[in-house]
Subunit: 433 residues, 2 copies
């Protein structure tokens, strides 16, 4: 039986969980894979803490570079995070001819092509299953299980913190700020929550999925990213009354001239599987041309769920190493011609609008005229009595599909009708059928 | 670029769909995998029909053996079905050193070990992703994506016909026979529905999952199989009133001395993801020790969804062939010591009971006494006024966990209390948490 030696860089939550899993499940992995996968070294600058796992003698070190340069180590697992030293160390490991496994979504989203080019140059594996949707084997499913499928659409709930906040807002009618503060107190949300609640973490994952599903290289600043910060519980409740649930979704789909990608809160039908994904769980809906709709659900974060995906990558790399092959799954798919990103303004969306209209004759007429001028059809209107405030009444609209440019122009005109009033609000609506 | 040639045996629904997918998605597969996967030959005894796909000149043949023996063909795809000629041809293909892909669940459930032994002897791949849950990449997820996970439980909705019938019974309150007849008229159910509605198709898949998840070799006649034939809409409705939905589930989990496996209708909580799987869709819930709960959802049957999984296997085999390796994923996992099947009587289940009790003093007392004597606790009772018929009233019970042997003994005693009455009925209840 072949022995494959693994070195971990970074013993934070996921690094320690990966070490624990490699040690605890060693025999299971050996029996299932036919390979003796050994945790050889594990590096962290701060060794003076409890990792929740008992390391064998000689495994721990403070010297990451010694791990990379150790000729006995075949696979380097980068779990430091961030785009600084993590990038340098991955490039050094690839340069040294080591297979690399990482869970670093920010790094892949910002420097993926550079890392992949280096892995290709050296002819080694670079795996990153844990970078999208934590423990869910979504990258393997997309690249291997669905290899025969042109992708018609991907919709992902990819951030557990946002989904937890939205679930509690809907169930308990609690305001955003309150749920966020509680989530922070419980450790479910970071003290600096922007990466999660402003949608950036989801956007990192969308960038990675764009390359896997469409062979599209896109940068973070090219895609539309809107988070859930400051979301009003009123809209969460109104969506429920209309038969929808609001989820922060990454949506990627061929549309118009290219691939449309967005990260934003979206109203989805209550009876769709994606709407049942609650609390901190993640899910990815993949609509493939051959397979039709498929969905993958599980924990998108956490010490052990993420480690499950990291170790699956380690074993995949170990299989290739023990057979002395690499790039069994090509590192990169570059369709010819290269696909483009569809300009945001050309993307067609159904919408939920909440307008606060002056309580006077003719206002609703102005709204319907503006919508009509922009080619936006109205599919539902909901105005209830007794909600007037400051001389304005809230009116909810659901609209048919229209280009985002037209929707945004209409919104600007609504705002101009009443400069002192509440800013008009729009969310995407997606039937998912 | 390497060319890998594929021969298909059997051009029924899935065979024709596989041919269509190989032809139509040829360029996509080439671009994604870096391999030129060619449909070389396709054999069927009856070529005088419309396959819904245009075959290139020289591909069609009536001679399956010529395809197997063709030295230019690397992968044989068996889509004839059944356990007769299909088995012979697979063994011949393996003997000839060809990689084999099949979707034949009945054959794998009945002769899996023999086929796998032959593949191992010849050092070739034998893949069967499409045999469980159609287009859903569940086998790949279990063997590769979750390789580090001891499996705590698998619950699968694995038969679309049964799930379609149960969904319509619940939504419309229509009796079983009526929905079945309609499903047959629409082509969703076979004229001879036993394989589906009596649970045997689900059981075939459970046998395959038992080997993949636990390394347990079990035969069809060793596991408990109860289908949905004759299910009363009364129970479907009563379950809903109690907060549950009835699904035909394959459940596999370590319990007591070994692995407990059953196929039976089960009440599951309405708010669980599995309960949202409706109509003809399939889903598999895998609770892994490291990853926690994950779920895989999609179409479990059909021309193209099944072809999606078959072609994924073809591409996997092509990757191995083009790298000149095999058994990258070991054909078989044989834990030492070999796991056992837990005897049915020792399995602990919660239960839903429907008893028709004589409308006279003391009857309920007899029931509670019998339950108590068998160590079965009552967690809910529901008896409604005005439902008496023939001097009996229906009473529903939910019970705590108890060994199946005790539950069955209690049921026999209930039946003996009133030999002329309605036979007492029991379904498993599973909280899935």
């Amino acid at each position: 039986m072949k022995t494959i030696n693994v070195g971990i860089l970074g013993l934070g939550t996921v690094g320690a969980g990966t070490a624990e899993t490699l040690l605890k499940q060693h025999d299971l992995i050996r029996d299932r894979s036919g390979i003796d996968v050994q945790l050889s070294r594990a590096a962290d600058l701060n060794l003076d803490r409890d990792f929740g796992v008992e390391f064998p003698e000689g495994v721990l070190t403070q010297d990451a570079r010694a791990v990379i340069q150790d000729p006995d180590i075949h696979i380097i697992v980068e779990l430091i995070g961030g785009t600084g030293i993590a990038k340098t160390l991955i490039l050094e490991a690839l340069e040294a001819g080591k297979a690399v496994v990482t869970a670093n979504k920010a790094l892949l989203a910002e420097h993926g092509p550079e890392l992949i080019a280096k892995a290709a140059e050296k002819g080694v594996d670079l795996f990153f299953e844990a970078s999208v949707a934590g423990g869910i084997p979504i990258i393997k499913s997309l690249r291997e299980g669905l290899v025969a499928n042109p992708v018609n659409r991907i919709c992902g709930i990819l951030n557990g913190t946002c989904n937890y906040i939205l679930t509690r807002m809907e169930r308990e009618g609690v305001p955003f700020d309150e749920v966020l503060a509680e989530a922070q107190a419980l450790g479910y949300a970071e003290a600096e929550p922007s990466l999660d609640v402003d949608g950036w973490d989801t956007a990192h994952k969308a960038v990675i999925l764009a390359q896997l599903a469409f062979g599209l290289d896109v940068t973070l600043d090219e895609i539309t990213v809107k988070g859930i910060r400051g979301m009003d519980a009123v809209d969460v409740q109104a969506a429920a009354d209309l038969g929808y649930r609001i989820k922060l979704l990454a949506i990627l789909e061929p549309e118009g001239r290219g691939i449309a990608i967005s990260v934003q809160p979206v109203l989805i039908p209550l009876d769709h599987m994606l709407a049942s994904v609650d609390m901190s769980f993640n899910a990815v809906l993949v609509d493939g041309e051959v397979v039709d709709e498929t969905l993958y659900y599980g924990r998108g974060a956490g010490r052990l769920p993420t480690a499950s995906a990291v170790v699956a990558d380690i074993v995949d790399a170990a299989r290739d190493l023990s057979l002395e092959v690499s790039e069994r799954i090509p590192l990169r798919w570059q369709p010819d011609p290269a696909p483009q990103l569809t300009p945001r303004g050309e993307v067609q969306e159904r919408s939920y609008l909440r307008l606060h209209l002056k309580d006077e004759p003719g206002t609703l007429g102005q709204v319907t005229r503006i919508l009509g001028e922009h080619g936006i059809s109205i599919t539902a209107v909901n105005q209830k009595e007794g909600l007037a405030k400051d001389g304005r009444v809230p009116v909810l609209f659901l609209t048919g599909k229209a280009p985002v440019a037209e929707l945004e122009a209409a919104l600007a005109e609504f705002a101009a009708l009443d400069p002192e009033g509440t800013v008009p609000l729009r969310y995407r609506v997606e039937e998912l059928s």
